[in-house]
Symmetry: C2
Subunit: 407 residues, 2 copies
Amino acid sequence: MKEFTIINCSLVIVSPWEVRKGVKVHVSEGVIDGVGDYESGDILDCEGGVLMPGLVNSHTHTPMSLLRGYKDDLDLHDWLKAMWEKEEKMSKQEMNIGSEISVIEMISSGTTSFVDMYFNPEGVKELSEKYKVRAFAGETFMDSRENPEAVAKRQRSLSPSRYFRPIVNVHSLYTASLDSVRTAYEISKEQDTWVHIHLSETREEVFQIKKRTGKFPIQLLHDSGLIDRIQAVHVGWVTNQELQYLKNATHCPTSNMKLATAGAFPFKEMYTKGTNVTLGTDGAASNNSLDMFREMKTAVLVQRHSYWDLWVKASHVLQASTINGYKLVGVYGGEIKEGMVADMVILDPRKARPLSQERVISNVVYNVTGDAVRKVIVDGNVVYDDEVKERFKTRLDQLYEEGGFNG
Amino acid sequence: MKEFTIINCSLVIVSPWEVRKGVKVHVSEGVIDGVGDYESGDILDCEGGVLMPGLVNSHTHTPMSLLRGYKDDLDLHDWLKAMWEKEEKMSKQEMNIGSEISVIEMISSGTTSFVDMYFNPEGVKELSEKYKVRAFAGETFMDSRENPEAVAKRQRSLSPSRYFRPIVNVHSLYTASLDSVRTAYEISKEQDTWVHIHLSETREEVFQIKKRTGKFPIQLLHDSGLIDRIQAVHVGWVTNQELQYLKNATHCPTSNMKLATAGAFPFKEMYTKGTNVTLGTDGAASNNSLDMFREMKTAVLVQRHSYWDLWVKASHVLQASTINGYKLVGVYGGEIKEGMVADMVILDPRKARPLSQERVISNVVYNVTGDAVRKVIVDGNVVYDDEVKERFKTRLDQLYEEGGFNG
């Protein structure tokens, strides 16, 4: 549909601070070009559903769906060992199977864009075109695993396509040298993109970096002139001093809690100091779900628990998962607003009851899960509905069958 | 069906520590009387689903589904004020509507027994018989709201029925006098039941009780000879000394986190000292979901986050929600084992993938939500399946319509 109007929505969550009733949303050429009375082109009937912006999963490792639940509750050291042993044996084909499972699961639960760190960006690129979902992925610098020159070479050959844009991944400061981060930074300039890195996740990491370099991790990247293109993921152990340097930070509450990394992601401080705070599920091996609705709730919960404070509210995490997510990936979107990309989700209104303008954001964040998603629109294309759901079911059956990572 | 055999389960989670494959479960007169090869009576086809014990929601306030999302993110003081204003105006009929919504939601998400604190136990009793789900509810001592003698009188007239058993609720030590707790205790002896109370939930509560009586709340109940029949709910602010006294304690992780009560429920310490640790969602106004699968995951997350330790595992919270829940309510159940009540849940196996004997408990706790529930069996009756689901849908539409608590 080149041009269509979404009608019969019970409520439209226009932004984290505004819910409208009785409005139609007009889309043309993949862009929202009106919210109000205007109706033109084809009709997309919301059937009483709740319309909201699509969600951005700002940090995941898509191939890891095959490792979901694998030796999950071992102690951290043994779990990592088991994980790496499996991962080392993972073929490119298996990675792509895992990524496809994750892509299907994410779309089905309302994710319209995702940021991925792994070793199969070409596979993810193909999937993004096949499923028409916005993907941001790249090669990953991890010196302990591979020579950085080889990584740089492949990264430089990675090109954007309609739904895909390369990013440059660095696994972490404890698995990659500062030189590798510099290379990643340079490539990110060439490719007009950013550097996506696990940063200040554990006490051990912070301790090691401080011991080795005399500086805290974020301070180190700042002093090295590298911080401005960095998307820092986790940021659970950070000094007040460092906070001011961060332009982009991603909170992965479930994964950090599940792995008992402790610490605290300083959501309020960063938010008020102007960091673009986003939200991610992390991979399916450490979460184990890829459902951004659940992640939004958990983010509020852990913030309130850690800080003994109610400051972080449903609207903040919705903002982190919509507006801020789109800001991170450089796409004008995240609200249902004229000129923004038509990336939207229609929810089953029954799952957000009692349904009212005043309560809906609360019920979406605190009660809804991805299972409430009825339709997903990306770039003006309906990429998920009842019919697609059936196709996804069959495809997932095949993929899990082929995956062969059971045990 | 008086006698039937459940066949074609892909996996059977017999207990938190044992998963079996290729077994049939034979049920007779509401009781499991065999797990193995034996087949007799009618057939219940699992269609490849995962069979597991039913879940016990050990703490909720069923009428509050009508208040879900109502002024949710106000500061605590304003939220409580708004909540109490609404609650004071709630009629018995509205309470029963709220309870019916909660009962339907709980059954649909795999809960087979629940423990309820509110002011409409007769209504809950009726619902338990109508829906064939095990309910444990009673009047609530809350001196600030009602004269304890009137409460005692109504409580004494409350009688058990097939699926209902009276319990005695005391709202808390800060809203009810120690005399009221004594009365509740006496009645609980007469009725052969227990006393269900919010205890040591907030710092403020502990401070007030200590200031008023010179003792910490649990210590006070112990020294007053009242602790042995107590189910203590929340227990977020507790001294080491007090832990040894608790026979039953219920963790409500989501509610405590959402309300920023902070503190820490000492799961590991209580578990290892022999307290029967159970799990509850709390009411829909503070959670806002009644899904015990989500609650199990959140319990592991907050424990690991608070204690910087991986000790609490998926199997512990599954135990808390099954075996320990049944122990609390005094019903021989919680495992799929000969002689235990036939309270079971069949899950969509697609939602627990990758599906394997080794991974299934992990995937059920960390990835599944109540939406994965296909069938629910209580006392050998199928109380939820695809057909019931349709009826529930219609009934929920009516109830939310009648509820009239929107705004």
